[in-house]
Amino acid sequence: MAKEEKPKLKLAVYWGAACGGCCVSVLDVHEKLLDIIRVADLVFWPIALDTKYKDVEAMPDGNIDLTLYNGAVRSSENEHLAKLLRQKSKILVAYGSCSHMGGIPGLANFSTREELFKRIYDTTESTENPDNIRPQTEYKVAEGVLKLPEFYNDVRTLDQVVDVDYYLPGCPPQTERLVEVLMAIVTGAELPPKGSVVGALDKSLCDECPREKSDNKLVKRFYRPFEIEDDGKTCFLEQGVICLGPATRGGCGARCIEGNAPCRGCYGPPPDVPDPGAKMMSAIATMIDENEPEAIEKVIDTIDDPAGTFYRFSLPGSILRRKIT
């Protein structure tokens, strides 16, 4: 039918430990969908198509031109698919915060699997489980055997499991950035070096933030967002509210800031910053308007849940990685 045309790009989208928001960001191309399917064939996308795992297994290696893997690696099923898709894909992209850095599900690395199971299946106030039943990877029922994937002790990023070509950050990534990246590949534009972050800026969020900034960021204490009367205009840090802008790559369009909420770092660290939490702590250190160690400590104590805030989207990919047990 289309024999004289250029072969269509073979595209796959898969989710590991994810919420579906990355897939929605793909769907949010809206009416452009009809243009995209003219240049790309979706060959595997569980949210939308009925291609099964065995169909992917049957594909020749390198058969898929581009795979967008979203979600973290949390279970044996996630890991198996990450490896399978690596083998079948020419280009593998870690799409979204979870595959890039662990994302929100990565906050589970503050606990062990056992602590998690105990809360979910035993102690939650609406759970009635007198026999201490836990989901089993293999369970014999009257009619046969039922299997579940193994739930790992920790959440991992995609590149902790397989080789990754590019990272497209965000929770979820901005749909416009995805379309740009897709079109660059379709038109045969020169691709950036392997390991690059694509679909984002090479500077921090502060550079694209519309809020007014001065040179004076000194504060005597920090505030939770509800503790101040936000004026809607001034830099959150200057108002004493923790904002991860300095430790975060731009490219999101400052969407949370536009909604009057401080940044929580879903686009990951800017170039040459290995760890967003460490970067944020050094930024905060320069803001404290005190000189004595005791007074400095007091200011720092006004930051509630620093680990869960500075590593909101990045714990598994950070230097902390997980709770030490």
Binding site: C19, C22, K52, G103, E115, P225, G259, A261, D305, R312
Partner: protein, 487 residues
Amino acid sequence: MKQITIDPITRLEGHGKIEIFLKDDGDVENVYFQVPELRGFEKFLEGRCVEEASQIVTKICGVCPGCHHMASGKAADAVYGVEPPPTAKKIRELFYMAHFIHSHIAHFYALAAPDFVVGPTAPAGERNVLGLIAKVGVETGTEVLKQRRIAQEIQALLAGHQTHNVLVIPGGVRKGVTEEQRADIEEKSKGFIEFSEFSLKLFEDVVLGNKEYVDIILNGPYSLKIHSMGLVDENNKVNFYDGKVRVVDTEGKELCKYTENEYREYIAERVEPWSYLKFPYLKKIGWKGFVDGQDSGVYHATPLSRLNAADGMATPLAQKEYEKMYETLGGKPVHATLAMHWARLVELLYCAERSLELVTDPDITGKELRVPLNNKPDEGIGIVEAQRGTLTHHYWTDEKGIITKANIIVGTTNNNAAICMSLKKAAQGLIKKGVEVSDGILNMIEMAFRAYDPCFSCATHRLPGDMPLVINFRDKDGKVIRTVKRD
């Protein structure tokens, strides 16, 4: 015993798997619907600042983030013992109506409608949104994508981003609505009403106008007699943002009506060793197993159950459609699983009308966006009606408002037992000794859980092309003895 495995189940939000066990004569013995994933939000919310929870829990589901955002925001209000000012409450609800509209359009047009407009046993390659567009025309198809886009844009305008919501803060909202934005949303809400009425007309012409479909809805293997749950306002009308949870029994009589603070007296959750997802049931009746009927503890929380549990709709056009639905289907309550699609469209019209009501309310551009938090934080519960069922968030905090414990019962989770049973019924009704398991039959089994929309709606754009489905029949040792393929 033969075993049929479908893995992964596709076109749902998240991961799923079905195991069908067949007797030696080919009849269905049992069906298991397994959820092979868990992320554990209840655990890792511990230690977080309570006002941050509303942004963390949007990552439970990227299709219905707004529901978690709302329930979490209400729970945080309760933790501080405050009520948001009228403007804030109305802005939240206005956002929430756009959220419902995006999701209901996605589910109906991309998932449900192809089965009816194109046909339940039409070739698989046509049974998708492009097949649908071919039937209804490109103009209508583009209109569907456009209306969903507008609903997403309204959410982004009010909440920063349509998926990454930052609207709520304990005691109110972070951002107000300008007159210019208000006027724009008013026009768009009128468009939603028109589009919802068009959708109901389409349903009437294509589905109700076809005797075969009406027969499938009413007499097919899709009926499940279980109790119905839904949020209602002070007049027992359907509400999504606020109210009490009402449950009616299989005959339509009120079983209970509870406030958020009482949920634990009425709902309990069961653990099965073969699924990571728990199974809620009505606590006062108790867990009686995967059985339907008046004595069962199983209920559903879906568009149909919400209409069953309420006395009507709070807006005039939706009320008319509500009456028409029950009149056509033989009175309340309705137990035909496929009627969930009709109920979803009645709700779509309600959301559109409610959106217009809210956006023309003078309070909506008010300047009082939040109240100060002067009380000591401790414990709070927030309930909203999510697209896929009643949603409960319950937080406990220390004196600084840091979460010490969290409990969440998610919309789709309410329907876990009901989905298992609906699949079994459909499989039993459709797979029989001597009957060839055709592509049409496979699709008709899938239609049983598609009706529940267990976050299926991500698949707004069910793309054209091959949609193969492979079922392996295995013997006791797991050896494949027969493969049925739908290409």
